[in-house]
Amino acid sequence: MSDTAAVAATALYKRYGSVTALAGVELTVRRGELVGLIGPNGAGKTTLVKIACGLTRASAGTVTVCGHRAGTAPARAALGYLAELFRFPGWCTGAEVLALHQRLARSTGGASERDELLELVGLSDAGERRVETMSKGMQQRLGIAQALIGAPPLLLLDEPTSALDPAGRRAVRELLEELRTRGVAVLLNSHLLSEIELVCDRVVILSGGRVTAAGRPSELTRAGGIEVHTAAGLRRFPTATREDAPAIVASLVGEGQQIYEVRVVRSTLEDVYLEAVTPE
């Protein structure tokens, strides 16, 4: 099935001298799927994304992009990429940046595609503005627009919201949801776990160059018991499930307790993340 996947990494290794950045990564992003890639600094997230888009060569293993070997022209034609650290020429206007990438991507969208993308990222009024006069957040949104040129079936986004304010982050989340409805696969590399939890279909946790956990956010997080706030204080029932709540409440009321709040606890993605990346 790997040839039909948007991204498929198999036994992927990358070594920089004596440093092993990736140590046998197995990862699949299905078409139309939104996958969040998380992990501590130095876990190999950016290296993985760079190998997928052909910027870096793997030491061993394979990566395919929409069935094509990563780094080949058809693979690069199938993806849009926003680097973690990127810059556009300051002397160009936003529209000129997009026009340059349209020509290189052989996109036939012309001015209408540029206008649509600028509107999509909230830069409709900034198309004729020079990049050097744009804020970091505006440049990041321009970077997202650039990645969307030619309507690629796969987006590789490396920290796309790092320079955005909360409103900008929400706009990107909405954009990602919109892309999902269009069937675009997204590999989203981010440190913002709440963001990943909100929008991603699946989460892959990378640590020490290996995938240490992967699954749907709801699968990764688990029941954490029930907490009941009573007049006597907080009572915890760590092994209880949601179904046990009425019986627990009835029991406490029977004991004469006054109940103020009942909460079904689930571990957060942050808990899962910390567990996955903390060495045993």
């Binding site: 052909g54 870096t56 060569r57 022209a73 680097a83 810059r87 002397w91 160009c92 990438h101 650039q146």
Partner: protein, 284 residues
């Protein structure tokens, strides 16, 4: 439009929009004005000297020396322009994050590099040819004479700058921007020393010094092309005048040849191939 042409056009646009042309043209006009003043003074002084100095053609000597000086200045300024346009083309742009968005596009890396080469070459060749033509005309207006050859030395100058661009691009693949800039100017300086060694070797009739200078010039063929250009300026100067020209800092005993032209072309191809292979294998 091919990807290489798209990038070349982008480089030209950058040169225009970042006012590279404005600055270069303004400073070059200042140079030409200074050169014109000095040239006019030199010929005015020459006219006050008493005639009848044996077989010495003072007008010819002054013409080729002044054009040689102008040619040296043109090569130097062309080199500065070439280096600044290309010194950070690969590693420098990658470190600044400018390169990655372009490299992930479908065109091959070789096409992107070729585009940078074509853009820089377009800018620099136009520049050195224009400045060289201005130098020739200034000397002609002031002294009433042209050097013995005009087109050949001009082509050699353009070819020399083209090789320097290729070297700078190769350096940009392997070195950081600062290291590449230093390396390029040291290479340029070494080549100049080779030229002076050649003059000294000729004056002292030292075959060893001449051989060393010749070998350095072949290792850095932009210098050999420049020397061939200088030689062409005074190709018809003979006797005492020819001797004086060749012993001067802007004379050369190294004539151009088909062998040199072929070697320069091969050198350019080798350097370009190394740059392309290096860029293709580089992790960004």
């Amino acid at each position: 439009m091919s990807p290489a042409l798209i990038i070349a056009r982008h480089v030209l646009q950058e040169s225009i929009r970042r006012r590279v042309f404005v600055i270069v043209v303004a400073l070059s006009l200042a140079f030409v004005a200074l050169f014109a003043f000095a040239t006019a003074e030199a010929f005015a002084r020459l006219n006050t000297l008493s005639p009848g100095r044996g077989t010495l053609d003072t007008g010819g000597l002054a013409t080729v020396t002044l054009v040689g000086l102008g040619m040296f200045a043109t090569l130097f300024l062309g080199t500065v322009l070439a280096v600044f346009l290309t010194v950070g083309a690969v590693r420098g742009d990658a470190e600044r994050g400018l390169l990655q968005p372009l490299v992930v596009r479908p065109p091959r890396r070789s096409e992107l590099l070729l585009g940078r080469f074509a853009g820089a070459t377009g800018v620099c060749v136009v520049y050195v040819v224009a400045l060289y033509a201005a130098v020739i005309e200034v000397v002609h207006i002031a002294g009433g004479r042209y050097p013995d050859q005009i087109v050949g030395p001009g082509v050699a100058l353009a070819a020399a700058v083209t090789i320097l661009i290729a070297l700078s691009l190769l350096g940009s693949v392997m070195l950081s921007t600062i290291a590449n800039g230093i390396a390029m100017f040291m290479v340029f300086g070494a080549a100049l020393v080779a030229g002076l060694l050649n003059t000294i070797g000729t004056a002292l009739a030292s075959g060893t010094v001449e051989t060393i200078a010749h070998d350095i010039a072949l290792a850095l063929p932009f210098e050999a092309l420049y020397q061939a250009g200088l030689h062409g300026l005074a190709a018809n100067q003979t006797g005492f005048t020819g001797l004086l020209v060749n012993l001067g800092p802007f004379g050369s005993g190294q004539a151009g040849s088909l062998g040199l032209d072929l070697w320069a072309a091969a050198y350019l191809l080798i350097v370009a191939s190394l740059a392309i292979v290096g860029f293709s294998r580089r992790d960004l």
